[in-house]
């Protein structure tokens, strides 16, 4: 049943995690770009959260002004390269492409975007330079997509920017969370390096901000602070047996997978709890890591799944089975997990055996840190409340964006938020 053999080395890992949207070659880009109609007030643009001028950059690719195309993309979205391959384009730009209405395959906007940006990243061509120093300093907490986008935009406006990042790599979940068949670590890090080389913001790695004192210091030393902290660890769900050996959080599992590749330990029989996009990813990834059986177990019926249907289809195509209307009651096993006890919609109990459980039951919010900031208004789910025109929080010195304000969306939303917040900061400091 399992289509994938356990990868024993990097080569086998790469084969199992083949890129879903590989880089286009010049000929592909030529033909793909020729297809765009240059629609008036193009609906694809409208569907892009960062509003990239899609018909323009595609026409630029076609006329072999690839550098101009990359500039068009980066002008709207600082993570244009990553977004080209990891955005759920089928529900965003490509989903809105007019061709869909006549059942013609849409223009491959994402891959064209990736093609243009990759070419400037590889050439190292400088498209931007920092603005003239305006003497002001901004602190950014978190080097995820939102934080990096904010830092880049602030640099073009002439601010000094210091990013404080808890981990030892930039990019947040783009490098720690997104499925390896969507993007490689190298590709993510190359783009961030390309941006940092041009714009020169500082990043302090291994520097989590965790105390009131640290925050106080930032407030004293910086003119404004951007919160791009994303979400936290996998939430604890209070299922009896959650602490057994072999029970892991999805975010933690994926992070290990992204860092250790073939050396990541995966059970033979895996149960994934949850039905969001993260659950789909974790299930697909377990299957690709050679698990013999992977079962997605979800409390509700199929129709209520939170995941995009294309993500579910992808998991199914990797050999993942699903069990709907299955509420986990207890994780069974003697120290080590041996199975999960479920009840169905009629309350009837049943057990599925396994040697690994991945909980994809949502991420914790960054309540602890956020609670330390004066007059910062959060909603009941600990999501930061902001002014949607400026991304300013209720504490005027703080701005925020990304998963921390939307509760968990896409990289492209973080990219937009970071840029918007930078503009908001600029406006706030120049009133």
């Amino acid at each position: 049943m399992s289509q994938y053999k356990k990868p024993k080395n990097e080569q086998e890992f790469e084969a199992n995690f083949k890129q879903k949207k590989p880089l286009m070659n010049d000929t592909e880009a030529y033909y793909a770009s020729s297809k765009c109609l240059f629609c008036y007030d193009a609906p694809c643009m409208d569907a892009c959260p960062t509003g990239i001028d899609i018909p323009l950059f595609i026409k630029q690719i076609h006329t072999k002004n690839t550098e101009g195309a990359a500039k068009t993309i980066y002008d709207s979205n600082w993570l244009g390269n990553a977004c080209g391959t990891i955005c759920p384009t089928g529900v965003l730009c490509e989903g809105a492409c007019v061709y869909n209405h006549q059942n013609v395959l849409p223009v491959e906007i994402g891959r064209l975007q990736n093609y243009a940006t990759k070419s400037v990243i590889e050439s190292g061509k400088q498209l931007y330079k920092p603005g003239d120093d305006n003497g002001k300093k901004i602190a950014v907490i978190g080097a995820g997509p939102a934080g990096i986008a904010c830092a880049c935009e602030l640099r073009t406006l002439g601010y000094q920017v210091d990013i404080f990042e808890a981990k030892d790599k930039p990019s947040g979940l783009t490098v720690y969370g997104i499925a390896p068949y969507k993007i490689t670590n190298e590709e993510v890090l190359d783009e961030v390096k390309y941006l940092q080389d041009q714009l020169g913001y500082n990043v302090k790695y291994n520097s989590p901000i965790t105390s009131k004192e640290q925050l106080k210091k930032l407030e004293d030393n910086y003119d404004a602070i951007f919160l791009g902290v994303g979400l936290g660890k996998t939430a604890y769900r209070n299922i009896p047996g959650e602490d057994k050996e072999g029970v892991v959080g999805a975010v933690e599992f994926i992070e290990e997978l992204r860092m250790k590749h073939a050396e990541t330990k995966v059970g033979d029989n895996v149960i994934v709890l949850g039905a969001g996009n993260t659950a789909m990813d974790a299930a697909s990834e377990s299957a690709r890591m050679g698990a013999k059986t992977v079962t997605l177990a979800y409390r509700g019926p199929k129709e209520r799944m939170g995941a995009y249907s294309f993500e579910y289809d992808l998991a199914v195509s990797a050999g993942v089975k699903s069990q709907f209307n299955a509420s986990p009651k207890e994780i069974l096993g003697n120290g080590k997990v041996e199975g999960v006890l479920f009840t169905d919609e009629n309350g009837k109990e049943f057990t599925i055996e396994c040697d690994m459980v991945i909980k994809a039951t949502g991420q914790e919010k960054q309540g602890n840190l956020l609670g330390m900031i004066d007059s910062l208004q959060l909603d009941k789910n600990n999501i930061i409340q902001v002014n949607s025109k400026t991304n300013q929080t209720t504490n005027p010195k703080y701005f925020a964006g990304g998963d921390a304000i939307n509760g968990g969306a896409e990289v492209v939303n973080g990219a937009y938020d970071g840029k918007l917040a930078a503009r908001g900061i600029h406006q706030y400091l120049n009133q």
């Binding site: 643009m45 001028d53 709207s76």
Partner: protein
């Protein structure tokens, strides 16, 4: 049974598909392959004055993803020895006695013309074609288009040829001239048996943006080439029509050339009066095999329409190609959008608003972005129906009842034409036109090129 064979000014051919004098007819090898593939005739690559060719000879115009929408060359006439060509003509005729082999010729003096005509006749050619068209290189030596552009000289040379030739003579014309009927008439007056057209059009297909030299680049320099391929077909068809309608030329058989690639092109040329067609670029692009599609399509068309021979419909479009002044000014069409098919690209909207008559509106609240025709403003120009990317989505629908018919000619005779600058009888009077400052008042809807933030 449909019979697609032709007798073109005495040259017999199993079908009207001929290879034009060009690289595909360089050698007996190629021509035999072509006949085997289904071509009915071939005009041998022009024989005549000795030449030397450059390397880097062709350039092209690619449009969107279409390669060679237009094609140009700076190649001269055959650079192979005449005796080789003659021997191969003889051999081809031996294998293919019923196919048409026509020798294209270009020389200078009367003696040279007489000598080379005798040689190709002796080799067994079915006819001769006079190359008065080549617009590069040869014309600098006083031949090719240099002759095609001087009707008097052309007439004289055709006269020499007619005195010497015992086989049918086709005069091939250059389009690099204001009135194609001038050389057309001169060739008829010189006594030609038939005409073929067009040869290539003087052109520059592009400039290399690093070396600033025109394509094809020869060691940093270039020269004008001869343009051909799909892009020149409309020009060729117009010239064909000019000759086919001319009272003193129309009885002369015409072989149509210029951008022919498919059966549709073939039928169009025949409808405009051609009774043989010649092809070069399409074969250089796809090989001899494209004749399969031409022949199948031509036969299908003839069966569908009930024609037995191509002479049954040759020239059938000519009566409908008239002068502007004879067109019915009361005919009235308006654009109609099929909302079921529309994909909401809004290209028709912007084409009409920026490039035509502001007769299409879009409704900001319609999530499907389906535009609407403002019939009062629509002048029936067709533009929207031409830009629409969806098959049969915008159609032009006739609105007048057909009872009225008036032409500019009739108005002129009745002394009713507008004749002052602000005449009320002019067409544009009363048409809706927004005032200039509406352009500034209208909220710019297209966000392209705008900053995503207001601040």
């Amino acid at each position: 049974m449909t019979d697609i064979s032709i007798n073109f000014a005495g040259i017999k051919s199993p079908n009207p598909f001929w290879l034009a004098s060009a690289p595909p007819t360089n050698s007996g090898y190629q021509i035999m392959k072509a006949f085997d593939a289904g071509w009915g005739g071939a005009v041998w690559k022009t024989l005549g004055m000795p030449t030397i060719n450059v390397s880097s000879r062709y350039g092209s115009v690619n449009y969107r993803n279409i390669r060679m929408a237009g094609f140009n060359n700076i190649e001269l006439i055959s650079d192979r020895p005449l005796e080789d060509n003659l021997r191969e003509i003889e051999e081809v005729k031996k294998y293919y006695p019923n196919h048409a082999v026509i020798a294209s010729l270009m020389v200078d003096s009367r003696e040279e013309w007489e000598a080379i005509i005798k040689e190709v006749q002796d080799a067994g050619a079915d006819g001769i074609e006079l190359n008065f068209g080549c617009p590069h290189g040869m014309c600098e030596r006083g031949m090719g288009s240099a002759v095609g552009q001087e009707p008097e000289v052309l007439k004289t040379i055709v006269g020499w040829v007619m005195d010497a030739a015992k086989i049918p003579v086709i005069t091939k014309l250059s389009p690099n001239i204001s009135h194609i009927t001038d050389p057309g008439l001169a060739s008829v007056q010189g006594g030609t048996d038939a005409i073929s057209l067009i040869n290539t059009i003087k052109s520059i297909v592009g400039i290399d943006l690093d070396t600033y030299a025109p394509y094809p680049v020869v060691d940093g320099k270039g020269t004008n080439g001869g343009y051909c391929g799909p892009a020149v077909k409309p020009i060729a068809m117009h010239m064909l029509k000019e000759l086919a309608q001319h009272p003193e030329i129309k009885s002369t058989p015409i072989s149509g050339i210029g951008g022919i690639e498919t059966w549709r092109d073939v039928v169009e040329f025949i409808l405009l009066g051609a009774t043989s067609v010649q092809v070069c670029t399409a074969v250089m692009h796809y090989g001899f095999g494209i004749v399969r599609e031409m022949e199948a399509g031509l036969r299908q068309f003839m069966t569908d329409k009930g024609y037995q021979t191509i002479y049954d419909f040759a020239g059938k479009a000519l009566p409908n190609v008239t002068e502007w002044r004879h067109l019915n000014l009361k005919y009235d069409v308006k654009a109609h959008i099929n909302k079921e098919k529309c994909v909401g690209c809004d290209l028709c909207y912007i084409a009409c608003d920026d490039g035509a008559h502001q007769a299409i509106k879009i409704n900001d609240n319609d999530r499907n972005r389906i535009p609407e025709i403002i019939e009062e403003n629509c002048v029936g120009c067709n533009l929207c129906s031409l830009v629409c990317p969806v098959e049969d989505c915008i159609t032009m629908v006739r609105k007048d009842d057909g009872s009225q018919h008036v032409t500019w000619d009739e108005l002129t005779l009745a002394d009713k034409i507008p004749n002052t600058f602000n005449d009320d009888r002019a067409g544009g009077k009363g048409h809706f036109v927004p005032t200039p400052d509406d352009a500034l008042k209208a909220k710019r809807k297209d966000r392209s090129g705008q900053n995503q933030f207001d601040f």
